[in-house]
Amino acid sequence: MPPDDSAAPRARWTHAGGAVTLELSGDWLQGGVAPEIQGDGPKSPPTAYQTGSLGRFDSTLPAFLLAQLRSLIPEKSTPKPSLSGLPPNLVGLMELALAVPEESEAANKPSNPSEIKKLGKFSLRLWSNVLSIAEFTGQAMLSLGRFFRGKARFRSRDFWQILQECGVNALPIVSLISFLIGLILAFVGNVQLASFGASLYVADLVGIAMVREMGVVMTAIIMSGRTGAAFAAQLGSMNANEEIDALRTFGFNPFDFLVLPRMLALILMMPLLTLYANLVGILGGMIVGAAVDIPPVLYWNETLEAVDLTNCFLGVFKSVFFGVIIAVCGCLQGMHAGNSSAAVGEATTRAVVASITGIIVLDSAFAAIFTILDI
């Protein structure tokens, strides 16, 4: 039931001579209506208040008063504003609110940068990202070097756990996606080839496409989303909890301890997963082949003829580099993440985007190189 009119909150400014009076009346409640402000806008804070008709109030009233006083009192002036006429409990609240002067440094000035500024900042940030990826990769390579000289220290238990997580646990999703990719390639390819009566060459199509590109790239992208994100999240949470600093001050090298086992695990598992993905993809193609009356044995033989060892090796060769990219991007974002939970989420997203970008760019570079080398 709405409060009746006489309880509506109202503030009225009156000026008489040099004195400014603020009359407050009605009920000032959070659940009530907005206050009605009467009288000319004042230029200085009230010298006195009238609260004869003031009813009930909650923090709406002191909040209103504080805002008014702040807008009327010049910054950093020392005399405390007069609070005479206010009921005692309100005086106490106002004194508390006014006690600590606003920290002017703390207030974030809203900046409205021009588009040029934003573009400039974006480019600078992009450049510093490239630099930090290069630095991180360098550190990771040094770490690898230490490993081969037997000087790197990490817990072997961690390594085996990571290996299982990257390798065995990834099999289901890699199987599913490679199978479907092989299936789709065969299906779409067959649509064209059947019109030439050349359905058998679907085997060549699927075989070469999977082994040279699709197996490797799809697996790498899957692993980015799966494992790269996990690395970023793990290391990001550790960073927020100061665990990485703790490693440093106890004499452990965080690169050797955290990044190296992850990188090694991916370097080992990516080739194996790629080979597996290739096989499963060809199988998917074989199913389509069977549907268009190509017997599996024939399909397999055709595939073997088309796919030579070079093609196979190239795919596996690329997978090692992709593994390094995924590890570096994931761990970099994790270790440089901020300290809030939102920051860990952002780090994860950046890790995945960066590694997918890196993978595709490197893949294009390899395609160019292999073309030039005529492989």
Binding site: R153, N241, E243, D245, A246, T249, F250, G251
Partner: protein
């Protein structure tokens, strides 16, 4: 033991503190104190090498820590034991494994000896029986105490503690004070503590530095018990008397 000369700490262009000059003597229990957000933890991070000074240098027993390149700092770091504000225990390891890791890394002790040491350290902080618990399974206060146990694992020459008493109940806090005093007396450790807890500060500290948020430099150094009544800096006396300070210090005792 530790000398800090003209230290300026900054985050980018924001200067946290400038021109800090102080000494920490051997076997001191040295407190870093100041208002919230004045840079106490930042100073601690500079002392242990996690942040580089914008200006100034830090010396350990005469050797320049600041100009030593990162790879060579291992010598210094081996003498530190650091406890972080929330414990910073490695979350995939149990408490026992957390404390054992520095021991396995830096000593030649066998597994049995390490286990004994681990149990001993946990007993010192009142966590006997929690060896096989993971950090996520115990309370925040217990995490801190385990962090202290880990910091003490190698019987360090210098122990750095970042707000060890925050969140501890008064009895645990008192037990911690006793532990710190005992470590200093029996092992000769120097202890550097970042803290607000006045009770602990007066009970155990014999030297301190007060970081002033307003001037952004040091307000005073010395024994907190003296500073409370005799410091010339009103902010320092106010801090140590919880806001009750009069505007004139009583004269120093002869």
């Amino acid at each position: 033991m530790i000398s800090v000369r003209d230290l300026t700490m900054a985050y980018g262009s924001f200067v946290v503190m400038h021109d800090l000059n102080f000494e920490i003597a051997e076997k001191d229990i040295f407190v870093i104190m100041g208002g919230s957000g004045c840079g106490k933890s930042t100073l601690l991070r500079h002392l242990i090498g996690l942040r580089e000074p914008a200006k100034g240098e830090i010396f350990y027993q005469g050797e320049n820590f600041t100009t030593t390149p990162l790879e060579k700092r291992g010598e210094f770091i081996r003498r530190f034991g650091v406890m972080y504000q929330s414990g910073a225990l490695w979350s995939s390891l149990t408490l026992a494994e957390n404390i054992a890791m520095p021991l396995e890394e830096n000593t030649q002790l066998n597994a049995k000896a390490i286990n004994e040491l681990v149990s001993y350290k946990l007993a010192l902080v009142g966590l006997s029986g929690y060896e096989d618990y993971y950090p996520a399974q115990i309370s925040g206060g217990m995490n801190k105490r385990a962090g202290i146990a880990r910091a003490m694992a190698l019987d360090p020459e210098i122990l750095f503690l970042d707000e060890p008493g925050a969140g501890l109940d008064p009895l645990s806090s008192r037990r911690l004070d006793d532990l710190i005093l005992r470590l200093r007396d029996s092992l000769g450790s120097t202890v550097v503590i970042v803290t607000h807890e006045l009770a602990s500060i007066f009970a155990i500290a014999n030297n301190s530095i007060f970081l002033d948020t307003v001037t952004r430099t040091q307000g005073a150094t010395g024994n907190p018990n003296n500073l409370r009544d005799h410091s010339e800096n009103l902010a320092v006396r106010n801090f140590l008397q919880r806001g009750e300070a009069e505007s004139h210090a009583s004269p120093s005792p002869p």
